[in-house]
Structures are given as C-alpha cells and as structure tokens.
Amino acid sequence: MWKYIIKRILIFIPTLIIISLLTFWLSTNAPGDPVEQMLGGIMGSEGRTTDFMATEQAYMEQRKKLGLDLPLFYIALQPLSVPDTFYRIPRKKHQEVLRRLIAQLGNWEYIQAYYLKLKDVQRLLYGLPSQGPFRKYRGKAYELINELFLTYDTMKIGFYTTLLAMTADSFVYEFSKLSMDTNLVGNSERDKAAIEEFKKAVYELRAAYLDMINNPETWKNYIPTIHWYGTKNQYHRWISGFIVGDFGISYVDKRPVAEVIKDAVKWTALINLISVILIYLIAIQAGVYSAVKAGTFQDQVLTVTLYILYSLPNFWIATLLIMFFGGGAYLDWFPAFGVSSLPETAPLWQRIIDVAHHLILPVLALTYPSLAFLAKQMRGAMIQVLKEDYIRTAYAKGLPDKVVIWKHAFRNSLLPIITLFANVFPFMISGSFVIEYIFSIPGMGKESYEAIMSRNYPVVYTVVMLVSILTLVGYLVADILYALVDPRISYSKKK
C-alpha cells in the first residue's frame, strides 16, 4: 500500500510540471503588459524630457521587480533572425511589433537601428517646445510616434515616417515664423537646438526605415537556433517561488498572492463545507430511500424531481432565486449580494445570523445539482446491490431492514460516493465561478474569475496549481478509500 502511494505521488510530479508549463505558456501569450497595468498607461504628449525619463525609469524598475526582465524559459527555439537577447526589450507591445517586423524582413541589425532611432525620436519629442503654435504639432508628432511603435506594416511605417518628417519641418517653419514676427522670448536658443535635433533624428529615422526595408534577409527566419538561458528565467523564478510557498505579488492590488488567497478561501471553504455536508446528508438518505422503495410512487416522484434538479443550470436557478427572493422586484426575503452587511463591531451571534442569512441562497444554488447527481448515483448503485444474493440471505436470516440496508447494502454501494469525494478537495478551494459571481461572494471563484479577466497572472497560476494538486490528492484519497471499503481491491501486485 505505502509503495503504491509513494509511486502515485511520484507520478504526480510530471503531471504538475506539465500543468505549470501550460499555465505559464498561456500567460505569456496573453495580451497586455503587467507593468503598464500596474503603473498606468504610457505618458501623454505633454511634459518634459525629465518626466519621460522618470516614467521609463519607473517602468524598468517595476519590470525588474516582477522579474519580467528575464528570459521566459530555460531554453528558446528561435529563428536565427531573432537575437538571443531579444527578451531585454521592454514593453510587450514593442516586442510583438519587432517580432512581426523580423518575421517579414529578417534583418535584425537594421530593425534594431530603426527601433533605437524611434526611441531616440520619442525621447527628443519631450524636449520640443509646446507653447502656442507648437502645441498642435507636438500632439501630432506624439500620435505618429505612438502609431509607429505599434505598426509592423512596412507601407504604413513609410507613410507615418514621412508624415513625421513633415511635422518636424512644420516645427522649423513655425519657429522661424515666430522668431521673425516677435521678439525672441525666453528659451529660444534651447528650443531651436531641440527642434534641430528632433528634425535630424526624424530624418535619420526615415533613413533607417529605408535601410531596413531595402536590405531584407528573410532566409534568416528559416534557420532554427537554440539558446540556453540557464536558471535565470521567469518560469524558474515562479516555480521555485511556488515550491517554497512564495506565490508572488498580485498585479492588481500589489498584495502578496498568498494573502489574497487566504482572504478569499475563507468564504469559499465555509460555503462549500456547508454545501458538501448538506449534499452528503440529503443525497445518501434520498438515494437509499429511493432504491429501497424502487418502483413505487414515492420513488418515481423522487427520481423525476432529482432528474429535473440535476438538469437545471445552476446559474439560471441562482438568477431566478435572486430575482424572486433577493429583493429585486418581487419578494425581499434574502439579501441578494455579498456575505455580510453588519460592521465588524457587531456582536458575534448577530454577525453569525447575518452571514447565515446572506448565505442561504448561494448555498442552495451550489448544493442542489451535486445533491441530485449524487442521489441519482447512490440510487443506481444501491439498486444493483439490493439485487445481490447476500442481501436476500441477510433478509432470510431475519435481520431487521435497517441492518440489512445500512450495514450490508449501503457499505457495498459506497463507490459512487467515494468517486465524488475525490472532487471535494479541489471544490473546497476552487469555488464556483458563476455562483460566486452572481451572488458577489468574495471567495476563490470570484477572485480567480476577476484575476483571469484582469490578467492578474500570479493569482491565476497559484489557483490553478493549488486546485490541480488538490485534484490529484483527491484521486489518490479516493483510490485509498476504495481499497479500505472494498477489501477485494488491492493495489499491491500479487505474485
């Protein structure tokens, strides 16, 4: 037995590794930049060079803090045209655009020159004057530059760079007009230098663009290269943190993920514990009753009721419960949302009653489908067992009905209950997306749903991994219980 358990646990490891890789791979393909998500978007057209530099600096620091400046994985299979230091480029959107440019042209040296020049132009933009007539042109140049950062269509790049060159010319023109019309005010010398520099950079950008499209090396896209990055990578950082219990920091509220999960799991575990107890208490009774009375009117009513309950979508029932009993337009018997409406200072028993009042509807919506399913399974298994010879023998011995049913028949029809028991473990912490979403319960289901929607990957990873581990544990426990309940099942090989 022990040998079997250890063997099973060892088999868990590759499964978990594959799951962790899959989750990680999904997250790397998600759009959106976590750093931008935490710091807010990119800088507007106003502001000075120092502000721009500060924003970039803050971005880089945050990126380093989250470990996003590391390569993704231990190993990378890339075309020859993609340099092995590509991961160092900040901002996910830029990486995406550059990868697409590489896929079209293959000449990284030229693409890099173009990209660096574009960053130069962006930096110089914030040195330009923004008062009076310049304001409009600066806004226009800002838009064009941002557009260029997101464009990989070479035709469009050509178009935008031309427009940018024209905008730079407009600056020069406006400046000369201004210096003729009025007496020069303030920082004119500096402005002039800035405009000249900006114009030069824009023309160089244009030249870099022409170089880039005129020297394609697409053949480089078809030669695979493998690069080994070692353990300094994002996956390694995350998985080794996970193993020692450091789940990372939530992108949304910057709290440790462990804390976020601890707060949420409290509610989910409470609700699901009540629900599981109810399910087992009622379903076993109902299933056994129905099986013993098989074929009678009571059995038929019960079976049909359970069948209907089982097929009713629980998000529909939850919606209806809120609509008709949750104080919408009809009855106002139960609070519709949340878990509590009293402050922390209220007396304990009042708070317990209040929470119970809030939880009746969600527990109901969560309980009935599983209850119906389990009762159905129970009935089926029990009917099979009741047909067996040993049950007839037990009756013939003159044992009372109760003893026959609960001691002889029930023990032998436990298999479906155990099978479902395997699902209890992950159920305790994963919660239900829909039910918690509908009733606004701050539990794991709602938390992980929101984490997915806001691309809060540290939370998503952690929940997926924890749920997967508990699922595997559930299967193992079920297998052990099988052997305990039914001595005929044995996992050690007989020789």
Binding site: I19, P224, Y307, P313, M323, I452, M453
Partner: protein, 439 residues
C-alpha cells in the same frame, strides 16, 4: 385468410434472413425507452428550428409582391451571402421591412430578426401593453433593453447552442477516438521502432514545431482574424509541413538502422503517453482553462467550440481505450492478425467500429455539457462577440433588469430543456447499450 397467413409467414422468413446486427439490438433496446425516443424527436425538432431559423424569425417576408414583382427576400439573402448575388436595387437599404408598401407579403411567424431594434417597445413583457400595429407584430416573449425581440433571439440562438454542442463534441470525438484507440489497441507493447527512428523522429518533432508553428505563427494568427476557412487552410499547410518532416525522419533513419545499437527496435509506450496526457487534462480545472483561453483571445464562436472540444475529449478517449484493451485480446482480432492483416486495417475496419457505440453515450452527455458551458460563458459575457444574441447573453441581461422576468425565464428554460433532452438521450443510450438490461 390464406393469403394473410402466407404474408406473415413471408415476413417471418424475411425477418429471419435479415442479419441481426449489434445496431439492431441497440435500436430495439433504445426504442423501449419512450422518454428517450421522445427526447430524440424533440432534438430533431430543435435541429429543424436551428436550420430554418431564418424562415421562422426574420424581419424580411418569405414571399412578397412589391411593385408588381414577386420576391423571395430570405432566399436572396442566402444567394447574397454564399454566391455574392447582389440584392435588387429596389430592395437595398430598406430601413424597415415592416413599413414597405407591399401588394401582398407572407411574413415568417415571428416577424423580427434578432438584431432588429424596436424603439417603441423597449423592455416590454409578454403580457404588457405593446406599441405595435396589430397582434401580428406582437413580441410574444417580450423585448430586451434595446428593444430586440426575445423570441427571435431565442430561435436564432438555437443555432449557436446546437452548433457549439455538435461541433465541439465532433472535435472531441475525433481526438478522443484517435488517441483512445492508439492507446487501447497498441498498448505499451505493440508498436516498435528502431532507436534511430525515435531519435530522428524526436528531432524532427522539434524542427516540425519550428517550421510549422514558430515560423508560421503570424500567418496563422492573421488568417484566424480573416476567416475560419483560411485559418483551417493554413492549419492544414502547417500540419502538412509537420507530417512531411516526420516522414523525412523515417526516410533518413533507414541507413542508420544498420548500426547495431541504433537499429535495435524498442517498444513505444503509446498507452502510457496517452494516459498521462488524459491525466493532465483531467487535472486542470476545465472551466478555468476555458475561461482563461477565451478571456485572452478575441471573442469568436469557433474558438469557444475548439476550446470546449480540446478539453472535452478525455471521457471519449477513456471509453475507447477501455473497450479496445478488451477487444484487442478477443479471438477475431487474433484471427485477423494471423491472416496477416496490417494493424491499420484491423484497427479501422474491425476494432474501432466495435468500440464506437459506448462513445455515443459520452457524446450525448458531452453535447449537453458543452451547451451548458457555452451558455455559462455568454452569461459571464465571454466567448461570443458582444452583438451575438445567445441564450446565456439574454439571461445575463436579467441581472441588470431584475423586474424583467421574461429575460430570465425563457432563455433559462431553453437551456434547461435542451440540456435535459441530451441528458435523456444519454440515459437512454446507457440502458440500450448495457447488456444487463437486455431482455
């Protein structure tokens, strides 16, 4: 009298001559279950509604006479959509088909398309007073917050629900049958390959990934944005590159087989590989995975189908695997082997057809749960594009307008009924296929 007797005798003879296939018994057994038979009929009816949704609920008339000419506008719509035949000039850009000056016109039973916005009847219930010209234009099941007809939405959403159920289970069945039969029929001890082929094959897998996926990544992504058809085409090209490279590995491995160590043939543990894969898929919380994938990508119905299919094949694969593990030791397979038939032929012609029936149970329940998953996704506002009306999306509106009971009752009933029908068919199949219930 005599003739009649003769007739019955003849009938008996004919019946006896007819070979009684396994399917005959399954059908007979299934037909005993009245509820399941009715459920199947009801599903046929749903499929009918889905196919002819355009003729049941549409703003355009089925037939009409307008300016002395007879038109079939719904057929013209099909012509336009599939063959690019343009609409006649006088029927283009019609703001409201209802108010056209017809000589005569035959409208569908529900004269609204799901996208039609009726500004005079916003959020009206079935029993409320409605601002319509006559009973013919009543919104029988009410309207939503934009004034769209709920009945029309439900009918057109039948299409989405059924196609999600059927296509996703189709995908699941293909993957499940393929992998399940590989694992079950070959087990861990049938397929052998030389070490040279395995090493070269693994190498080519990596190269195949590079050339089929990595290099063509953006081609594939862009084609998906363009249309499903071009995506499938690009996918085929990628698959061809992949298979081509594997074939190349097999060819290249030939000379190496002469070397002793490389030429030694070792077993490929098919069953172990597939079982591990199934375990991984089963362990991941599937709704979690589906929501995560759907939330990342652009909303598309095809993606929802594909994702549900890609996560839902494990049940089918397990069924097939278990069946084939049993079948492969039966005598007729042994007989076929000793006749020298290749594995491919035995597997496709003899083994899989006999293992296929239990899969039907899985598919029936799978369709029910796929429809449920899709409506859950659209209830959460995920998956399908926001302007598409589905049962789940109508139901989710009822959360915003709690006094509009019709937005909750009708779509919910539609989901409930459809799911129940498929579950009933599944139950019926269980009984029909279980030898213990055979009488």
């Amino acid at each position: 009298m005599q003739g009649q007797a003769n007739n019955t005798e003849k009938k008996n003879v004919i019946q006896q001559e007819k070979p009684r296939t396994y399917w005959y018994y399954v059908k007979r057994q299934f037909k005993k279950n009245k509820l399941a038979v009715w459920a199947l009929r009801a599903v046929y009816f749903l499929i009918f509604i889905a196919i002819f949704a355009d003729f049941i609920a549409n703003e355009k008339p089925i037939v009409m006479k307008y300016k002395d000419k007879v038109y079939f506008p719904i057929f013209r719509e099909y012509l336009n959509a599939f063959l690019g035949v343009p609409f006649p000039d006088e029927l283009r850009n019609i703001p409201s088909w209802r108010d056209l000056q017809y000589d005569w016109a035959l409208f569908p039973p529900i004269p609204y398309s799901p996208q039609n916005i009726d500004l005079y009847n916003v959020l009206v219930g079935p029993f409320d007073e409605q601002d319509v010209p006559s009973w013919r234009w009543r919104h029988w099941l009410g309207t939503d917050d934009l004034g769209r007809d709920v009945a029309s939405g439900l009918i057109h959403a039948t299409r989405i629900a059924l196609s999600v159920g059927i296509v996703s289970m189709g995908i699941a069945a293909i993957i499940g049958i393929l992998l399940g039969s590989l694992a079950g029929y070959f087990g861990d001890d049938t397929i052998r390959a030389s070490r040279a082929s395995i090493i070269l094959g693994t190498l080519m897998l990596v190269l195949g990934y590079f050339y089929a996926i990595e290099v063509r990544k953006y081609v594939l992504i862009d084609s998906l944005k363009e249309s499903i058809l071009s995506f499938v085409l690009q996918l085929f090209i990628s698959a061809a590159i992949f298979l081509g490279l594997l074939f190349l590995a097999w060819v290249l491995a030939r000379p190496f087989r002469r070397v002793k160590w490389l030429g030694e043939r070792v077993f490929l543990p098919m069953d172990m590989l597939v079982s591990r894969l199934i375990e991984v898929i089963v362990t991941i919380p599937s709704l979690f995975l589906i929501v995560a994938i759907v939330a990342i990508a652009e909303p598309s119905l095809f993606l929802v189908m594909a994702v549900i299919g890609l996560t839902g094949w494990t049940g089918i694969a397990r069924f097939i695997r278990a069946e084939l593990l049993r079948i492969r030791n039966l005598q007729y397979i042994e007989a076929a082997r000793s006749l020298g038939f290749p594995h491919r032929r035995i597997l496709i012609r003899h083994a899989i057809p006999n293992a296929l029936t239990p899969v039907l149970i899985s598919i029936a329940f799978g369709i029910a749960s796929a429809i449920l998953t899709e409506s859950t996704l659209s209830f959460l506002g995920l998956g399908v594009p926001p302007d598409t009306v589905t049962w789940g999306s109508i139901l989710s509106l009822s959360r915003k307008y709690p006094e509009s009971w019709w937005l909750a009752i009708f779509p919910g009933s539609a989901i409930f009924i459809t799911v129940t029908l498929f579950n009933l068919i599944g139950e019926g199949l269980i009984y029909a296929l279980d030898p213990r219930f055979k009488r």
